[in-house]
Every structure is written in structure tokens, then in C-alpha cells.
């Protein structure tokens, strides 16, 4: 089965105040070292994988901020992958971009290199909220990035938005959705803000400088998102994701369908040959492993059939269509009810799950309380 390929670019101009992903402030030496390690890691895999395993279904370059690399660096990554892997059947090559790091020239080069999807971190339409989040750009610059992507020849453009921000009103969010949905985008991800421990924003909330968004207000924003974007023709296909029909992100669906993927770069994760692997987060650790000619991952866990079933369920239920029941039986040789019958009955009774046309899916209420449903399957 062709794999999804993920490349983690762990650099940003400046880390955002809510972010707890692995990212470092971009500086030349670190980036050069990273690029050479990454090339090493790619060729290392190329030596050990079979021809079939080198067939790439999707390529996703994420971060961090991939576009804070210079054009040549990005080109280098894509060209090295093309050299060592088989991209002939690759239907989607995505690069994540942040406003302020993408000029027309860089975008044109990416397009020329075969990148056919761009995902721009717009996050909010309000400069006040962008400042609170510690973003380095304003909304005007975000729109300029979208426009530039179109001008560079990208047709498949998506944006990320965050709602449930401190002090954000339901009205502000609706207005933002209206504005963004008029930009001609193919894909919109709308995430609710997760306050992660240890982030600057968590500190400011603890200090009383910012008020976290009320649970009811946030829930209202979620249902408004569904309503507004549906009206504009977007299909709600995953809890936080909306796309024009046929423009659903192929790469992320690999995760949700619990299919194999290979992660390259520091802190990247892989699910491959029935085991999960994690690369080290620290750059030095990553660099020195590759320099020594060995795979970077520090953690490998074989996935037992029970775990695979449980992950297939709680990941698959994130999709709005739900979990394909026939697909489950074929994959595991037993019916889902034989494994989780009691739990499913309970969740159906509580109105959180429902059966629909051969699928088991979250109800609208179930989408609000996804974790409650998912935790029943771990």
C-alpha cells in the first residue's frame, strides 16, 4: 500500500503563544544542518524500503513553518524526495505556509516543483486576536498570502482558523467565517483553541490577563461554523475540517483511516509495518542519529491487534461519514459489535453515536463531546 509521507520542518520566525508543537526560531546554521540531516534520513529510508514501500500516496510538508525556509531549501527537500521515492502516483503535495513568509517567487517555485496544495495559517480575521495569539502577521497580510498563492498558480488553497479565543464573541467569529468563505478557498480547517500547559497563553490566562472562552460560547461557535460553511457549499468531512467536494485533504485522511505513513524530520511520527515510531524532538539528537547512519526514531511500539482496532475506531469516528463497518470487518475479521458492542450500545443510547448507511458515526452532539466517545474505545 502506498504511504503518506510527512516532513516536519521545526522552524518558525517566532513560536506562537498557544503553540506546543516542536518548533525552533529559524537560524541559518540550524536550518542547514537540519536540511542535510533530512536528506540523510531520506536516503537512509530509500536504502531499506522495498520498491512498493517507496510509493508515495501523499506528501505533506508541515511544521513549524515550512515556508520560513528559503526557496532553495524547500526545493532541495522536494527534489531529494523525488529522487529517492516514487511520486508517480502521488495525488497531493501540500506545503504549510504562514503569512509573512511567502512571496510570489517562492510560491511559483513551489508550484513548479509539483506542489499542488497550499495550506495557509490565517487563524483569525481580527488583528487584536492575532496579537493575543502571538502571531507575527495581521489579517491583511494573511489575505495577501492567499491572493499571492492564487497568482502563483495554486488552485487548491486552504486556510487554518482558530476559534474559541480569549475574549472572542460569537458575532466576531461568524463575521470571520463569512469573510473567509468569500476568498474562494477550497479547504477550511477550523480548530477550537486548545490551551496547552506551559504555553505563554496559558500563563496569561492563569495570571488573569486573558479570559478563556466560555464553553457554551465555544460550542455555539462550533455549530455556527458548520452552518455558515455548509451554506457556502463546503462539506463538513471531519470534526474540524471543511472542503469543497473533492477537495478533502488526502494526507490527513490517511491518519484518520489509520493507514501507514512515514514521518521525516525531528519530532515526526510514523506508522509503518505495524508499529509506531517517533523521532526525537531535539535537533541535536536527530542530527547525530542520522550522522551515525542509523534511523532517528527513539521509540518504536508494535501495535497489537487490540490497539489497532481501538485506534481505527477512535480515529475513524473523527470523520463525519463515520467508520465504515464493512471495512472494519474486512480489516479485522470480526464485526465491530463483537468487540465493542456494549460500549456502542451505551453511546447510541446516550445520543452520541448513530448508525447510518453501513457506517457508525458521531451524532451532532457526539461531535461536541468527541473525547467522551473516543475514550470509551481506549
Amino acid at each position: 500500500m502506498p504511504v503518506g509521507l510527512y516532513v516536519h520542518v521545526p522552524f518558525c520566525l517566532k513560536k506562537c503563544d498557544y503553540c506546543d508543537f516542536v518548533s525552533f526560531t529559524a537560524h541559518r546554521d540550524g536550518i542547514n544542518q537540519y536540511l542535510s540531516s533530512l536528506a540523510g534520513e531520506i536516503s537512509l529510508y530509500s536504502d531499506t524500503l522495498s520498491g512498493e514501500e517507496k510509493q508515495v500516496a501523499t506528501l505533506y510538508i508541515g511544521g513549524g513553518t515550512p515556508t520560513c525556509l528559503e526557496t532553495a531549501g524547500l526545493a532541495n527537500i522536494i527534489e531529494t524526495i523525488a529522487l529517492h521515492f516514487d511520486l508517480s502516483a502521488c495525488g497531493e503535495i501540500t506545503v504549510e505556509a504562514n503569512p509573512g513568509t511567502v512571496g510570489l517567487e517562492k510560491l511559483r517555485t513551489l508550484r513548479r516543483l509539483g506542489v499542488n496544495r497550499i495550506s495557509i495559517g490565517v487563524q483569525s480575521c481580527s488583528d487584536k486576536h492575532l496579537r493575543n495569539l502571538g502571531r507575527v502577521h495581521n489579517f491583511r497580510e494573511a489575505v495577501e498570502a492567499v491572493t499571492a498563492a492564487g497568482e502563483a498558480g495554486f488552485e487548491n488553497i486552504g486556510v487554518d482558523l482558530i476559534y474559541g479565543l480569549p475574549g472572542q464573541t460569537a458575532g466576531e467569529w461568524r463575521e470571520c467565517l463569512e469573510t473567509v468563505s468569500c476568498l474562494g478557498l477550497r479547504h477550511i480547517s477550523a480548530y477550537s483553541l486548545q490551551i496547552e500547559q506551559g504555553t505563554p497563553i496559558a500563563g496569561r490566562i492563569a495570571a488573569g490577563e486573558l479570559n478563556p472562552c466560555d464553553e457554551d460560547v465555544e460550542a455555539g461557535m462550533f455549530s455556527d461554523t458548520i452552518k455558515v460553511l455548509k451554506d457556502k457549499g463546503y462539506r463538513h468531512y471531519e470534526i474540524s475540517n471543511f472542503a469543497l467536494p473533492g477537495r478533502e485533504c488526502l494526507h490527513n485522511q490517511i491518519y484518520w483511516r489509520n493507514q501507514p505513513y512515514l514521518g521525516l524530520g525531528p519530532a515526526a511520527h510514523s506508522y509503518f509495518r505495524g508499529a509506531r515510531y517517533a523521532n526525537p524532538s531535539a535537533l541535536e539528537e536527530y542530527n547525530s542519529a542520522i550522522a551515525a547512519g542509523r534511523p532517528a526514531f527513539i521509540d518504536a511500539q508494535t501495535v497489537s491487534p487490540e490497539t489497532e482496532m481501538s485506534e481505527t475506531v477512535f480515529l475513524g469516528l473523527r470523520l463525519i461519514e463515520g467508520l465504515d463497518l464493512k471495512g472494519f470487518s474486512q480489516r479485522f475479521g470480526k464485526k465491530i459489535e463483537d468487540v465493542y458492542g456494549g460500549r456502542i450500545r451505551g453511546l447510541v443510547r446516550d445520543g452520541l453515536l448513530e448508525y447510518a448507511g453501513g457506517f457508525l458515526r458521531l451524532t451532532e452532539r457526539g461531535m461536541e463531546l468527541g473525547n467522551r466517545v473516543f475514550s470509551e474505545f481506549v
Partner: protein
Amino acid sequence: MVNRQEHIRNFCIIAHIDHGKSTLADRILEYTGALSQREMTDQVLDKMDLERERGITIKMQAVRLNYRARDGKEYQLNLIDTPGHVDFTYEVSRSLAACEGALLVVDAAQGIEAQTLANVYMAIENNLEIIPVINKIDLPSAEPERVKKEIEDVIGLDASEAVLVSAKMGTGVEEVLEEIVKKIPPPSGDREAPLQALIFDSHYDSYKGVIAYVRVIHGSLEKGTRIRMMATEREFELNEVGVFRPSMATVEGLKVGEVGFLAASIKNVKDCRVGDTVTDADNPAPRPLPGYRKVTPMVYCGLYPIDNVQYDDLRDALEKLKLNDASLVFEPETSEALGFGFRCGFLGLLHMEIIQERLEREYRLDLITTAPSVVYRITTTARETLEIDNPTKMPPQGKIEIMEEPFVKATIMVPKDYVGTVMDLSQERRGIFKNMEYMGENRVMLTYDLPLSEIIFDFFDQLKSRTKGYASLDYELIGYRESKLVKLDIMINGDPLDALTCIVHQEKAYYRGRQLVEKLRSLIPRQLFDVPVQAAIGNKIISRETIKARRKDVLAKCYGGDITRKRKLLEKQKEGKKRMKQVGSVEIPQEAFMAVLSIDDNK
């Protein structure tokens, strides 16, 4: 050997918390060489972790020390440690019965506190020789002369020869030892008489069975003797006799007047009651020694395992704790909401907290503690008298003729600037003013009659916080008085939650009901559906709040391909759910059951 008895001194130390009892005890151990300085971890006698953390002594310890006095003779000193908290008066009474003398340790800056006073009076009643010791003389604020005068005025003891000590610096320790030798009388027992040894404490050892702490009053105790417990009439082969130095050390025997321990493969603690007399089965004493006053629990609460499969573990753990703590009582009970558990009686709130913490820490049990209650006395219209230690058992109002609750006489000592504050607090708690007395220029002793139920409800914490820690409290039960009391029921999602039922004074019922309902709303997490929380008296709802349905509980992001992290988050959520008690269809966290205790009157 003629005068072995002459060279024994048995003593204990009476002190208020923080007045330096444990530090002084440590210095004495160090001085007499029972422990080298290197072996000293701070406060050796406070053995339990909990004791060290809270800086208090709960369980007694007994240590044998050897001291060569200035008269050139070698003395055997037995130090019997005593707890300093008001909850543990009972344990103090047990230590006193094993001693001929007591050190009264008073802080040179703070003076006498209420609890000290109560214990000194108890020691005087027991005919103990009291040696005043003024500690912390190194403090800049020390006023030893004022404190001496206070001891004379308030207690009526001659303090002219009080020993001035700084246990911290180690000054005056030798003088204390000399005073012990000089003033405390040697034990007066008859070594030829049949054996009579008083059991003043015990602990359970998984290899040796019950270890009884004994003071030989008459006769002697030797290994191999067949002993009889006079109250239970059980007989055992004595297979080990020893002393604490402070670790356990075997000796050939204990002679008259000596303090130590015995082990006789006693498997059941019920066969070895604290307060009982040990005698020689082949040459029994005609009658037992006078026992201690019987301990009566003041506070009751229900203890329930969150997970019902832990019920047997809980019973085993309670039985084990009971081995070391005769004051703990428990019997099985059932709650509609909580299933099977135990109704437990405690000496006070601190005692209750300590037992609960030990069960959770040492026996790894997840417990729910129901609101504490005192024992109410009810006379029904049918002229029956009922004692109610569980509020849910209160009969309907219509069937109650008279309802009485326990009252205490509370003695509060406080700097005079705080008199108003203490009076306000006592008033709020239905206190009846009895007396006010100046002790020196600055300090005042207030006496109130207060309902015990008001004392267990957060009174001590309030007293401490409102007087910036300066007030001290002692109380003793003075009997039952009639009160206008009602049963306050709490209903969650329409069903009464028996574990939260409490008995409150009529005039406070509305206020308390509202507070409780608000508190519960903030403690119970939002559920799948709206959950009403109500307080009711009889059929009448007096307060209502709604816990709104949970609206949002989902992770937005996928964290790239980090499924393991996602799984861990979900596992954590599942764990959290397990620690809640499922009552009907509502999940209630442990803290909610203690809500009744933590209500702040000032809010």
C-alpha cells in the same frame, strides 16, 4: 539490685503544638546517647510520615534512656511521648497513667495555650509531678519571667524553679534531666506482688502479632511466662519482652516500674485491649488495675470505596489501623448512593482526616468520605430514645418529640485584640458566652458553651485564620441540650443523595442549603445533560441550581501523526472518569462529598 526501682523515672512531656516538645525530646535522646547526632533525623519520635508532614504527634512512642546523673548514679529514664492536638486527649490520658511525672513545656514567647492547660489539669488529677520547662529562650521575643508568672497565676504551680531551655540550641537539657531525676518520684510498685502491667498502647507487627506497650506496676514480666489479659481473659505464652531504645531491643524481662513492650503471638487485637491489665496466669493478681476512661468517638462519617470491589480491602485496612488506634470505631453500613461502606467514629476532625489519608496513602484505597456528623439524641413521640450517628437515620419531623445535640465547653485563649473576633465567631456558631478572664495583661481566656456540631464544622480553621494563628482551643463534652434541628437533604438530578444529608440548626438551614448547593454546582463537572442540584427540608425545596450540560469536550487538532499522544490523553480522561462515583446517571467527584466541610462562612 535492691534499689533498682529507685533509679527509674517514668515521664512524659506536655506541650502545645509548636512549643518544641519533639525538639526537646530529640535533644534528650541525643544527650543521653540513645542516638548519635548523626543518626538523628529531625524529630525521631514522630515516626509516621503524616506526623512529620503536619508537625504533630499522633501515636505515642516510648523510649528507654540511660542517664548518669550528677550524683554519680545511673538512672533509667522512660520517656513516653504524648500527642498535642485536641483530638487526641484520650491518648494523652493513656500516657499519663504510665508515668510519675511530666515535663510541662511552654514557649517562652507565647505562654500557655488552651490545650496545654487541659493536659496539665489531667496530669495533676493523675498525681503526676510536674516540672515546668520554659523553652525557646533563645528567641528575641522570649519573656521567661512573664511565662513563669503565667504558669503560677493560671495553673497554680510553683514555677520559681522552672528550667530555662532552648531545645533548638541544646541549652538547659542537662538541667532538665537533673530535675527529672531529682523531682519525679521513682515508681512505687511492689516487686514481690503478682504481676500487674498496664497496656497503654499497641501496634501490629506482621511477624510478631500485636506488640503491647506496657508499664509494669507490680511484680515482673519475664520471657516464657504464661500471661493473662484480665479483661478478655485470654492467655498467651510470652515470647518476647523488650524496650525501645528507640528501636526495639529484646531484654530478659521487665521489672516493677519499668516500661517496655511484649509480644506473645497475639493475632487478634481484640484480645489485647489498650487499658487492660496483664497478669501471670499461674499467679494472677486478684483484680485488674483501674482502666482508662472509655474513649467515645465525637465525630462519625461514612467511608466508602469508590470502586465497590475495594470493600474487603477497606475492611482489612480499617482493622489494621484499629490495631494501632483503639479510638477508631467502625461498623458496616450501606448507602443508596454509595453502596457498601463503613460508618466510622473518630475523636475529632483531624483524627478523621488522618485516618482517611492513611487509608488512601498506605492502603492505596480510593475513598469517598461523607459529611461528618455528631451523635444526636432523639426522643420520639412514642417516647423512644434514639441515638443518631448518621443523619439519614433521622426520623420524620412529625415523629420527633425532643431533639438534643452534644454541647462542649470550649476554652479559647487569645491575645486581647482578638477578643471581639472570637466572640463574633462563637456567636455565629450558636455559642453561649460563659466567662472571660484576663491572664496577664495581654491575654484573655474565653469560655463558651458550643454545639459540638459547630466545632467540627470548620471552627478551628476559622478560629486560626481569623486570629492570625494566635488563638488556641480546647473543649470537653458537657452533655446534651435540646436544639431546633432539621434534616437537610440534597438531591442531585431529582434523587436524594443520602451521603450528603446533614442535620443543621433550623435558623441556618436556608443559608446552609444555598451554600451547599452552590458549592456542589461548582464541584460537579458538567454532564451529558442538565443536572439540577437541590436542597430540601422534608418535601420543601429551599434552594436549586443547575449544572448545565457539557457542551464541548473534543480535541480539535490531530497532532500530526502523533496518535500515541492522542491515545494517552484519552486514557487520562478515562482514568479521571474512574475516580468519580457514578450515582444514578451522574458522575460525582470525591471532593463533592466533602463539600459540606469546606464552605467558607465569609463568602
